[in-house]
C-alpha cells in the first residue's frame, strides 16, 4: 500500500471522529444491533404469545409499546423484529457488496469484452426500480428469509458493480499498478491486494447507504405481506398488522415505524459522515 493512501486514511479517521452526525448515527445503529442481539433475553414477553384478555391495550409500564390485536407485546415483537430486519439488511448488503465488487473490479481491471458485457448487464438490472425488482424476485422465489436475502442482494449487486468498476478503471492507470505489473505480480494479486484496498473507502460509504435501502426494502416487502410468514415478527409486518387497527391502536404502527426511521437516519448519517470524511476535496 502506498504511503500517501495510509496518510490519507489517518486524516479520514480523525475527521470521522470529529463529525457529530457520524458519531450519533453510529450510536443509534449500534444500539439497534445490540437490541437485536440480546432480544431473546431482553424482551419482556414471548413475541408470539397471544393473550385474549390484553387485546389492543395501550402502552403502559408492563407493555411499554402496548399490545396488538392478538394481545402480543409490541415491544418484544419490535426487538425480535429487529433481528429479522437487520439480518436481512446486513446479509443482503454483504452478499451484494462482495459479488458486485468482485465483478466490478474484474470488469474494470480487464476492460474489453468482459467489461462491455458486465456494463450492459448492470444497465439492464439498474433499469428496474429496486423495490419492483425485490418484489418480483420474492414473488417468484416465495417468501422466506433466504429468498429475501437473495432478492435484496440481487438489487444491490449492479450498484456495486458500477462503483467498483469505475474506481478500478481509474486505479488501473496509476503508477503503483504499473509497478506491481513490472514486479510480475499476478492479476488476482494486483486486483484484490492492491486495487481493492484503494477503492474500499467508496465501497464502505456506499454499503452503509445501501444497508439502509436494504432494510427499507425488507420492511416494504413485509408491509405488503412478502416477507417471513407469520407469526414471525418483522418491522414491516408489525406496521402492516398495526395498520389494520390504526384507529383503535395507533401505537401499533407508530413504534415499529419509529424503529425503522431510527435505523434509516442512523445509517444515512453514517453514510454521509463517511463520505464527507473520505472526500479529499473537503476542507481539512
Amino acid at each position: 500500500m502506498s504511503a500517501s493512501s495510509s496518510a490519507r486514511r489517518n486524516t479520514v479517521a480523525s475527521r470521522a471522529l470529529r463529525s457529530p452526525g457520524l458519531a450519533f448515527g453510529f450510536v443509534v445503529v449500534v444500539v439497534m444491533i445490540v437490541a437485536a442481539l440480546i432480544a431473546p433475553w431482553a424482551s419482556p414477553f414471548d413475541p408470539d404469545a397471544q393473550d385474549v384478555m390484553l387485546v389492543l391495550s395501550p402502552p403502559d409500564t408492563t407493555h411499554l409499546f402496548g399490545t396488538d390485536a392478538f394481545g402480543r407485546d409490541v415491544f418484544s415483537r419490535i426487538l425480535w423484529g429487529a433481528r429479522i430486519s437487520l439480518t436481512v439488511g446486513f446479509l443482503a448488503t454483504a452478499v451484494g457488496v462482495v459479488i458486485g465488487t468482485v465483478i466490478g473490479v474484474v470488469a474494470g481491471y480487464y476492460g474489453g469484452v468482459i467489461d462491455r458485457l458486465v456494463v450492459a448487464a448492470t444497465d439492464v438490472l439498474l433499469s428496474f426500480p429496486q423495490l419492483i425488482m425485490g418484489l418480483l424476485l420474492v414473488a417468484v422465489l416465495g417468501a422466506s428469509l433466504t429468498n429475501l436475502v437473495i432478492a435484496i442482494a440481487v438489487t444491490a449487486v449492479p450498484a456495486f458493480v458500477r462503483l467498483a468498476r469505475g474506481s478500478t478503471l481509474a486505479m488501473r492507470e496509476r503508477d503503483f499498478v504499473d509497478a506491481c505489473r513490472s514486479l510480475g505480480y499476478s492479476d488476482l494479486r494486483i486486483m484484490f491486494l492492491h486495487v481493492l484496498p484503494n477503492i474500499l473507502d467508496e465501497l464502505v460509504v456506499m454499503a452503509s447507504l445501501w444497508l439502509a435501502a436494504a432494510i427499507r426494502t425488507e420492511s416494504t416487502l413485509a408491509f405488503i405481506g412478502l416477507s417471513v410468514p407469520p407469526p414471525t415478527a418483522t418491522w414491516g409486518g408489525i406496521v402492516r398488522e398495526g395498520f389494520d387497527n390504526l384507529l383503535d391502536g395507533p401505537w401499533l404502527a407508530v413504534f415499529p415505524s419509529l424503529a425503522i426511521l431510527a435505523v434509516m437516519i442512523g445509517l444515512n448519517l453514517i453514510g454521509d459522515g463517511l463520505r464527507d470524511a473520505s472526500d479529499p476535496r473537503a476542507p481539512q
Partner: protein, 512 residues
Amino acid sequence: MKRYLFAAAALLLAPIATARAETVLNVGMAAADIGQIDPHRATSTQDKPVVSWMFNGLVRFKPGSASLEALEPDLAESWEKSADGKTWIFHLRKGVKFHGDWGEMTAEDVVYSLKRAGDSKTSSFAADYSVMESIEAVDPYTVKIVLKKPIPALLGLVANYHGGNIVSKKAAEALGADFRTKPVGTGPFQVVDYKSNESLTFAANPAYFRGVPKIDKIVYRFIPADASRDLAFSSGELDIVYGRQDQRWVERFSKEPNTVVEVVKPAELSILHLNTTMKPLDDKRVRQAVAYAVDRAQIAGFKGASTAVPAISVVPSGYLGTDEQAKLYPHDIAKAKALLAEAGYPNGVTIKVIQTSLPTMLNSMQIVQSQLKKAGIDLQLEVVDHQTFHARIRKDESGAVYYAAARFPVADVYLRQFFHSAATVGTPTAVTNFSHCAVADKEIDAAAIEPDAAKQKDLWKVAQAKVIDDVCAVPLYEQLQVWARKTNVDYGYEFQGAIHLGPVVTELTNKK
C-alpha cells in the same frame, strides 16, 4: 374579498349540485377485485351481494332475510306441486324485461338458466341441480320441473340464490366469455362498467318490473385495506361499507355520527379442514390432537361477543338439520400431546398450510396457529393472495384449510359440499371437500331423499357426528355479518339477514 368567497363557494357547491341530480350509492367492499359475477359462478363474499342486485329467481328471499321460511314470489307469480312432490309447475310473471335490449324473460330463459346451473362446465352449483330429471317450457309462461326424487327444499333451488338466478339465454349464448363480466339478468340494476381492482359500476334498470329503482347508480368499490375502507366510510366517500367482523369495529362505528351498524345473519362458520390424505394428518390421532388443541371459546373471545360465537357443529347453527348439541372434542392440551406421542410424534408435528392474506382470515388462522403450537403442532403458513389461495386449496396442496362459509340454510348443502366424497378437491366433481372426508356419504345421500322430516334430521345428525368423530374438520367459530350504512341510506326493508352476505339494493332502496 367577499366576491372571491362567493365565487369559491359556488365552485365548491357546483359538483354537489350536479351530484344531486343523480342518486349514487357508494358501497365499499373488503376485496381487491371481483371474483366472478356470473351468477352461476359467484361464490366469494364480494360477488354474492352484487349478484342479488342484478338477478331474480322464480322465488326470492324476502329482502333483508336469510330464512327459507320467508320465500316470496319473484319471476314466478304462483306454483303448484304434484302429490308425490316430484313435479312442480311454475307460472311466470308476464312482461318482465331483461337488461338492455335482450328482450322479454320467458320460460325458455328459465329452462336455459336452470340447465346451465346444473352443468358443471358453466356452474359452480351443478351438484345441487343433479336432482332435476327434466326442466321444460310448457308454454312461454309456464315451466315444469320434474325431480328424480322429492327433496327438502326445491324452492331453494329456484330462489334468487346461486344457481336459481335466471339469466338471459340470448345474452349468455351471444356474449360467451364476456358474460362473465357483463352478465344479463332481470334485476333492478345492471353492470355498466368494470375497472379491474378498482370498482364495478351499476346503473338502474329503468324497465325493472317492480318499478324504476330510486337509486340511479351504484359504485361498488374494492378497498382491501381495512383502514383505508374505514376512513373512506368515515369521510363520507362511501354510503355503505362492509364492516370488519370484530367487536371493536362494531363498537367504534356504532358511536360514529350518522352511522347505523347492522349485525346480520347468516353466520359464516369457520372450519379448519384437515387433509386426511396428507402426512401427518392421515393419522386420525394427529387429527384428534388438533381438535383437542383448539380452544373455540378463546377464538370467539378474540373476535368479540357481539359478532362471534363458538361453533357448535360442522354445519352452521340455525340451518335446517344442524345438530345444535353435536359432541365436539373439548379443549385439552394434555390429551392432544398424549395423542401426538401415541401416534409417534412425541416432539410434535409440522403441517404446511396455504393461507390467504385477507386480514380477517389470516388473523383467525394466527390465533389457531398459536393455540396448536401449545400442543406441539406447528402450522407453517404460506401466505398468498386471496385468489391464489382459492386456486391452490382446490388443487389439494394444503395440509389444512381454513375456510369460512355460509351456504344455503339446509344441512344437506353444507354436508354435501364439504364432507361428501363426491365433492373432494382434485376430482372431476370437486366442490370444497378439502379433507377428502368420506365417512358420512351414506347418511348424507339417504337424508336427501328421506321424506320423513324427523328421520331426515336423524340422518343429518349421524352424518355430523361421523364427520366430527373422524375429524375431517375442526369447527372453530361462527361469525355474523357486519355492515354499516349512513343514516341517509334507507334500504327499504329491515336488514336482519343477508343470504347474499350483503344488503340487497332493491328498487325501494333510497339515499336522501
